[in-house]
């Protein structure tokens, strides 16, 4: 994962804490994964809030706009989010 100084604020959904929010900056996965996430409204530029997550590599729940979605662990690790300061 890219952890260079200028991208310090960018983490995956897995690394976010519950209740934290940020802006989606990219999806580090194939086209298929990106499309599926886009259809749920999870795409670059959108504000995202983590509701709960990743207990024993379980799924993460997020809120984007008025949609709440459950995302499997692997897929969630591909969603990169820039945290609000």
């Amino acid at each position: 994962m890219d952890m260079s100084p200028e991208s310090k604020n960018i983490v995956s959904l897995i690394q976010m804490r519950s209740g934290q929010s940020g802006v989606v900056v990219g999806i580090a996965g194939g086209f298929g994964a990106a499309c599926r996430l886009e259809n749920m409204g999870i795409r670059p530029g959108k504000k995202i809030t983590k509701v709960s997550g990743a207990f024993l590599r379980g799924p993460v729940t997020v809120r984007v706009g008025n949609t709440q979605a459950g995302i499997g662990f692997g897929l969630a690790s591909k969603v990169m989010v820039e945290l609000h300061k």
């Binding site: 886009e38 259809n39 749920m40 709960s52 799924p59 729940t61 949609t67 459950g70 499997g72």
Partner: protein
């Protein structure tokens, strides 16, 4: 206009919308993917009848998962005709999720079929502080836009009046990127959202999905669901069905029995054996006694109460949350969380459960899910009978049967996941907000499903009872009993005659459990019998659906697994108990 295609994202209330338009009852649920087949109905447009087709929900016309593939295929099929014949599309949009929903709208507008947009769930926008300028949206899209509330019917008069104004905007083909950019622009212009703090209700929603609080809540929900189902089921039996049978039906049957001379072939087939000079509905085994009593007096009350509780869970929006919570466990058995939905449906009847596995992504998942449902998920009819014969020994034996089935379900899933090549895909599931189950829809659904049960089950139960009588009369059961005695008596510790029940289990499992009653089995034998019967082989209806859904070859594989597992588990129980 020939046809009206109803299209929209999953979970926008499209099925409720359809039944509102056409008056045809569709099973609606507050989770995505309920509709896996075309549903057709009719509506009146300007005094003329038009066919309405409910196309399964999809986020896009370029499928990204299995459920969408189904919808897209149907859509393509329908559009081919539609372009020729001048049909129209009603695009049902969730007004509270305008941005996400508009993607499909834009795709539809590129199809050269007239479109009209229904902004459904309009009432919800008000509580959520969402303001949408309908006129501006309509102008921008260049198609009519009508706000609607499918559950109450608000806006439908206007919608139907406007249907003929549906129009084809001249839109060229866009790329994904362009569509999202367009949507961003239009949403900014037509929608304004009040900033609101988390409501109390939203906090509750979050609690039920966070593992630490959600898992205990899920356990509590499951416990309460079971308690309520039993309470209502037993209540119906004790206060409604048993009195009805005792006061009205039994006297009739006794008269018939006298009329037939209290014995003889026809008496035995119709009324069955008299026990202590009267009919015993569980033991007499006549067509008009046991054959009527089992489906109506024992099973129907539980079917009613099960579907009432399941319907409430479906419409409240709890199931997708359960799917998220269970995702972890389900991944270990080769499925993902959403497979919990077909599994729960299986507790009503395995047939709709197995049909619902269509929403799963891969062949491998469907195989695992169908096999596990057939083995570890007893249908309502079977459960009613298990409670009926074991309930009198207290809660322990009944709980033991469930525990054994659950452990088998988990273990077998774990083994299948290890043995079968492939992996289970990732969960990605929209979680709808909680809604209060609309009682009108709930009661209709229960009624519809109960009617379905009677129509499907009653004839097979009667046939089952008839065949039992014939096979006994012809001595065929004796032959099978001798033949299978080493397994049944040796390994499972059941009397030879119990094999007759296991054979009849292929027809109907509730009838089969009923056949244990005259055998005077011990509690241990009853437990083993119920477990083996649950797992051994699917009933004929499930069997046919399995062949259709997973094919002959996989069906044979599944059947092998079922027989081996049931003998193994039954023998273990015989040793351990």
């Amino acid at each position: 206009m020939k046809k009206v295609l109803l299209m929209g994202n999953p979970n926008v209330g499209k099925s409720a919308f359809f039944s509102r338009l056409t008056g045809v009852h569709v099973i609606t649920s507050n989770y995505p993917g309920t509709t896996v087949e075309f549903t057709r109905g009719h509506m009146l447009v300007g005094g003329k009848k038009a066919e309405v087709i409910d196309v399964p929900g999809t986020y896009t016309l370029e499928p990204t998962c299995k459920a969408e593939e189904v919808a897209c295929e149907m859509f393509k099929e329908a559009t081919r005709e539609a372009i020729k014949e001048g049909d129209i599309i009603i695009n049902v949009v969730d007004a509270t999720n305008l941005e996400r929903n508009l993607y499909l709208t834009l795709e539809l507008m590129e199809q050269r079929i007239p479109v009209i947009v229904a902004l459904n769930m309009w009432d919800d926008t008000k509580h959520r502080g969402i303001h949408i300028d309908v006129e501006k949206l309509s102008k921008w899209l260049d198609v009519p836009v009508v706000p609607t509330v499918a559950v109450t019917g608000e806006g439908f008069v206007k919608l139907i009046a406007e249907v003929h104004k549906a129009r084809t905007p001249r839109v060229r083909h866009h790329t994904r990127q362009e569509r999202w950019e367009d949507i961003g622009r239009v949403v900014k212009e037509v929608q304004w959202i009040e900033h609101r703090h988390h409501t109390f209700w939203e906090r509750i929603q979050d609690l039920t999905v966070k593992p630490r609080t959600g898992l205990p809540i899920a356990a509590l929900v499951a416990y309460l669901a079971f308690k309520v189902i039993r309470f209502i089921g037993e209540g119906l039996i004790g206060y409604v069905f048993e009195p009805l049978f005792e006061n009205f039906y039994t006297p009739l049957i006794m008269k018939l029995s006298l009329l037939l001379g209290s014995a003889g072939f026809w008496h035995d087939v119709l009324v069955g054996k008299l026990i202590k000079g009267g009919v015993d509905y569980m033991q007499s085994f006549g067509l008009l006694t046991t054959g009527i009593f089992v489906p109506i007096g024992v099973v129907l009350p539980y079917v009613l109460s099960f579907y009432l509780v399941l319907g409430a869970l479906e419409d409240s929006g709890y199931l997708p949350r359960l799917a998220v919570l269970m995702d972890n466990l389900m991944h270990r058995i080769g499925l993902h969380g959403f497979a919990i939905v077909p599994t729960l449906l299986g507790f009503g009847c395995n047939v709709p459960g197995i049909l619902a596995t269509r929403i799963l992504e891969s062949k491998r998942e469907r195989f695992i899910a169908s096999t596990l449902i057939s083995i570890g998920v007893p249908c309502a009819a079977l459960q009613a009978m298990i409670i009926g014969v074991l309930g009198k020994y207290g809660g322990g034996p009944v709980a033991l049967v469930y525990l054994v089935l659950f452990l088998t379900w988990v273990t077998l899933g774990f083994v299948l996941n290890k043995l079968l090549p492939g992996f289970s895909p990732e969960l990605l599931l929209e979680i709808p907000p909680y809604r209060f189950p609309p009682l009108r829809i709930l009661s209709r659904k229960v009624w519809w499903r109960a009617k379905g049960f009677l129509r499907e089950a009653l004839p097979i139960v009667l046939m089952g009872v008839l065949i039992v009588n014939l096979l006994y009369a012809l001595g065929i059961f004796d032959f099978i009993a001798n033949f299978s005695a080493p397994v049944v008596t040796g390994l499972l510790g059941l009397p030879r005659e119990a094999v007759a029940a296991i054979v009849i289990g292929f027809l109907r499992k509730d009838v089969a459990v009923g056949m244990f009653t005259p055998l005077d089995l011990s509690v241990k034998q009853l437990i083993i019998g119920c477990v083996v019967l649950s797992m051994f082989f699917p009933c004929i209806a499930t069997f046919i659906v399995l062949i259709k859904e997973i094919g002959w070859k996989d069906m044979l594989k599944a059947a092998g697994i079922m027989i081996a597992t049931s003998i193994l588990v039954g023998s273990l129980l015989n040793l351990l108990l």
